[in-house]
């Protein structure tokens, strides 16, 4: 997702870098768009990064 330039055609801003924002950003880059992922905390990951396992398969969350 590299360094931001001042003007990029075809870019999308994703506000919030939890699992939803990350997935949207990943899909958009795959679909050919530049993404600004704007997250208010110092790291992306959101609440999912705080979870241990996930329901119902008990897969690791990180």
């Amino acid at each position: 997702m590299g360094k931001a330039m001042n003007h990029r055609e075809g870019s999308v801003m994703v506000l919030g870098g939890g699992i939803a924002g990350i997935q949207a950003a990943l899909d958009l880059t795959e679909l050919g768009f530049y993404v600004y992922l704007v997250e208010k905390s110092p790291a992306v990951g959101g609440v999912m990064a705080q979870l241990d396992k996930t329901f119902p398969t008990n897969d690791c969350s990180l």
Binding site: M1, A20, G46, D52, F55
Partner: protein, 937 residues
């Protein structure tokens, strides 16, 4: 990626927005920080760690967790001695890479963007709401978020669950559900839709820690309506977790324990002591929801979540701005992930004219040629993983041991092999020592192999000239108590990896072109939405429908729970689909045969009726399966035998009619008449909402109508809870029944009788209503044929099985095939639409790229050895091997683009003609030999 950033303003119009973003300083230079952690060790100030829900102490200068992205430390200004009082600055000289910079200032940036996706997540319930359950007063009352950190091995207590009051291990644990949800006391009338699942998960995890713990979950309704979620609940019950339907009134201290006061359905008041009480707190709208709404001018609903409607579930009230995740309404991870992909497809469709303009492609140096007879020069890197490995394994000894091995030209240790600076070291050493094989002894290849392979590519080496040894999970973690043996095992594993590395060869990176067209199977709301979305993104599709006309189940629906008219939406969809030049609709059509693989499918489709039936061949790059489902027809409760017994769908039709008698004077509704262990093993997810929708309509037409609903759990999740509340206010009676005491429906003359056990009055009741309405559930529509034709796995309940329940919810096991709608599992219209948009997003990815990359690790057939038995073809779960005629003989051949490298073919080939790239028989044999040859290096 802009972290520590706040959105300040958004101006402009769709396609041409300007966002102003404020970047708060980290006070640490991201390019210099190596994430070594020294600063945190030296920082003298304590800081309550929000990542661990305040259960542990960190320092103002820290990183939230080891895997955080970006992997740069930061200083929390709220407790830093320098930033608050201009003293200290100990961290500045401590940092070896001079990354600390207190002069950093906030920076405002303007971003030119075409579209916006809002995914700010959810907020937390106010502690004031939790106080009525003793939270904040009694140390042993914790929230589920805190409990999640307590049970986590990487959490503040390394997964040891203890009472905060005196450190004892709890023997009796209670979960209280619906704390801050379904509670008008705190203005959260909605259901948070996730708490039942996480409570069951946390209870199961606790049981894993200590099977002796006695766990009770106090609930109103257990809402495990997601796909295969009920099975987990049953698993929990089977291992002794108790579910008690009761609202807890009070939590009071009782000796060193906590006493719960609660009332059960039969009116008994009970008291029970517990050691630890977990509050299953709900999800609230994000704290800054109002601020976001002010800046972006979007509408919020009455609970301050983003307002959307059922037919356009992700579109906000502002064009060019879409929403995804919990901000749209409380939801779990798979739903959020699905919405994100869908939101991406909507944004992509709105900006298709400028697609690809802003993206830079990463370039790699030219790949260095490594021939089979070149001298093997292996570099071995042993990772300390901070102290994760080195506190148990003697890393220096392992590295030195490797250094003595044949062909090892370079060896060293890294503190964190995955850190930015270590990557640079690895690249430098590859060039300096002309390494042509790299062995890294570190953590799991599952998480880190791609990273190291990327480093090899950056250094001009083929990424398959790499071997990874997992000395963390397999040595330091499992043998934490036996450091010497762990070190010996690490040496063994490294010796084996080096033996294999001597034999590994570069594997070619291949790409195959893609036919930019989709085949969409099924023209219900899912199929039509997916095809239209693809059209909006600029791609053609062929939409085939088994029936006479497009539309599917929407023909049976008249309005949604929120009151939106279904038929007008259906008409719009049908018009769009039939008029679109990019969608080719074929009715009375079915798939006869499909050959090929992602990017290059070729299908034979038969369409038309009788004499006009024709077969045609369509070339396409992707397949979207939207074959749908239908109402289940149980052979019980007199359905089909008595005119007075109807399904909810039939009742809906009746209610949409014109006759005055369409709303009967008395109705008994039976929920789960087919689902959840009746005929079907699963919850059909939509029936509770469907029943409520009809109830409200009946009450609208005939307010005097008396309605009794017999249910097991009312699963009106999310905002549908409002409708449930409204129905109760209108006097509708809801009575739960147990699965072993189901209601009975009999005919007595012209009358119909319903006999059931009233769990509130504790007695048998007989009623003679005018009508009985059954919530019958949903079954998939003939997934068998398609699953055989396309080799798609299905679940035990015959729905298509997604590639990964959480992270790849619309992809199927076969590359290039995606699923949406009822074919995936029961779900309401809005979720179907979102899923269809998500499937379109995923399907569009190969179409946009125009090519697919083939993973180099695939099987290959040595045609000389192949005897053409076809065993591999019949065993391959992905349809990735085909038989070809070569010089008149049958020979197997791998379709590299479809192969998932599972190795089943290679393991079963009777003549050893098949080998796996990167895992040849010679390579694996060499590892086994090296394992036994302890003295031989």
């Amino acid at each position: 990626m802009l972290t520590n950033a706040d959105l300040l303003a958004l101006e402009g119009t769709p396609g041409n927005f300007t966002a102003t973003v404020n970047l708060r300083p980290r006070y640490i230079d991201a390019d210099s920080c190596t994430a070594c952690g020294l600063c945190t060790q030296y920082c003298p100030r304590h800081h309550v760690d929000p990542y661990n829900e305040g259960l542990s102490i960190t320092r103002p200068i820290h990183i939230d967790y080891a895997q955080a992205v970006p992997a740069t430390y930061y200083i929390d200004p709220s407790s830093c001695l320098f930033l608050q009082h201009e003293t200290c600055q100990i961290c500045v000289p401590v940092c070896q890479s001079h990354a600390i910079n207190f002069k950093q200032q906030p920076e405002e940036r303007k971003l030119q963007i075409g579209a916006v996706i809002l995914s700010p997540g959810f907020g937390k319930i106010d502690p004031k709401t939790l106080a009525k359950f003793g939270y904040g007063k009694h140390p042993d009352v914790v929230t589920s978020f805190e409990f999640e950190r307590m049970t986590t091995a990487s959490g503040p207590f390394m997964g040891e669950i203890k009472c905060f009051s005196d450190g004892r291990h709890p023997k009796r644990l209670a979960f209280i559900q619906c704390v801050g949800s379904r509670d008008i006391g705190c203005n959260n009338g909605y259901c948070s839709s996730v708490c039942c699942m996480y409570a069951i998960k946390e209870a199961l995890v606790t049981k894993e820690h200590d099977p002796e713990v006695d766990i009770t979950i106090f609930y109103m309704d257990i809402r495990t309506q997601g796909k295969d979620f009920d099975a987990a609940r049953e698993r929990a019950e089977a291992i002794g977790i108790k579910f008690v339907r009761a609202k807890v009134a009070d939590v009071t201290p009782w000796e060193n324990r906590l006493q719960l006061t609660y009332a059960t359905l039969d009116g008994q008041h009970k008291f029970e002591p517990f050691d630890l009480v977990v509050l299953s707190v709900g999800l609230e709208s994000p704290k800054d929801a109002k601020k976001i709404a002010d800046i972006t001018r979007i509408d919020l609903n009455k609970y301050d979540f983003c307002a959307t409607n059922a037919f356009n579930p992700l579109q906000t009230s502002q064009q060019g701005i879409v929403v995804a995740g919990a901000f749209q309404g409380p939801k779990d991870i798979p739903e959020s992930v699905t919405q994100s992909s869908a939101a991406a497809s909507l944004a992509a469709a709105s900006l298709k004219q400028v697609r690809g303009r802003g993206v830079e492609m990463k370039t790699y140096p030219e790949e260095q040629k490594v021939a089979a007879d070149d001298e093997v020069r292996i570099g071995v890197f042993v990772c300390h993983c901070g102290i994760n490995i080195s506190s148990v394994v003697d890393c220096a000894a392992v590295a030195n041991y490797a250094g003595d091995m044949k062909n090892v030209t370079f060896y060293t240790e890294n503190l964190y092999s995955c850190s930015q600076d270590a990557q640079e070291v690895i690249k430098k050493k590859i060039k300096e020592h002309k390494l042509n094989r790299v062995v890294i002894a570190a953590c799991s290849p599952r998480t880190h192999e791609p990273l190291f392979q990327e480093t090899l590519r950056d250094a001009g080496l083929n990424r398959n000239l790499f071997e990874m040894v997992n000395i963390r999970d397999q040595c330091s973690w499992v043998h934490a108590g036996e450091p010497e043996l762990a070190t010996i095992k690490s040496k063994d594993l490294v010796r084996m990896a080096v033996a294999k590395a001597r034999l590994i060869q570069p594997l070619p990176e291949q790409t195959v072109p893609v036919t930019a067209k989709a085949l969409v199977i099924g023209a219900g709301v899912a199929g039509m939405t997916a095809a239209l979305n693809l059209a909006e993104q600029g791609f053609d599709s062929v939409l085939i429908e088994k029936g006479d006309a497009v539309g599917g189940n929407l023909h049976h629906l008249h309005h949604t729970l929120a009151g939106d008219a279904v038929q007008s939406h259906l008409q719009t969809l049908v018009d769009k689909v039939t008029k679109s030049k990019k969608v080719d609709v074929l009715c009375n059509a079915e798939l006869v045969q499909t050959a090929g693989f992602i990017g290059n499918f070729s299908s034979v489709i038969a369409s038309g009726k009788g004499k006009t039936r024709v077969e045609q061949t369509v070339d396409h790059g992707v397949i979207i399966v939207a074959t749908g489902g239908r109402e289940h027809r149980p052979d019980k409760y007199l359905l089909g035998k008595s005119k007075k017994v109807v399904t909810q769908q039939e009742l809906e039709k009746q209610l949409a009619g014109k006759a005055k008698t369409r709303a009967p004077g008395s109705i008994v509704m039976i929920q789960c008449a087919g689902s959840r262990g009746d005929d079907l093993n699963y919850c059909s997810k939509v029936c509770c909402n469907h029943a409520l929708k009809n109830i409200l309509k009946v009450k609208e037409i005939n307010p005097d109508s008396q309605i009794v609903v017999l249910y097991r759990d009312m699963r009106t999740y999310g905002f549908a809870e409002d409708a449930y509340m409204e129905a109760r206010k209108l006097g509708v009676v809801f009575i739960p029944y147990e699965v072993d005491r189901k209601p009975e429906v009999t005919e007595k003359g012209a009358k119909i009788q319903v006999r059931f056990f009233d769990s509130i009055m504790q007695e048998e009741v007989v009623m003679s209503p005018d009508l009985v309405a059954l919530s019958v559930g949903i079954v998939p529509d003939d997934t068998d044929t398609l699953s055989k034709l396309l080799k798609l796995p299905v679940t035990a309940n015959n729905f298509f099985l997604e590639a990964h329940v959480k992270l790849r919810p619309v992809e199927l096991a076969v590359s290039g095939v995606y699923v949406c709608g009822l074919a995936h599992g029961p779900k309401p219209v809005d979720e179907t639409i979102v899923q269809a948009q998500a499937a379109a997003a995923k399907a569009a990815i190969p179409l946009v790229k125009g090519y697919v990359k083939v993973d180099p690790i695939v099987s290959s057939v040595e045609q000389d050895k192949c005897i053409g038995c076809g065993l591999c073809v019949s065993l391959c779960p992905y349809g990735a091997i085909v038989m070809q005629k070569v010089d008149g003989k049958r020979k197997a051949e791998t379709i590299a683009a479809s192969c998932k490298a599972c190795g089943i073919c290679a393991a079963h080939c009777p003549t050893f003609a098949i080998s796996m790239g990167g895992f040849t028989n010679e390579q694996i044999n060499s590892q086994i030999v090296a394992f036994g040859a302890t003295g031989d290096r």
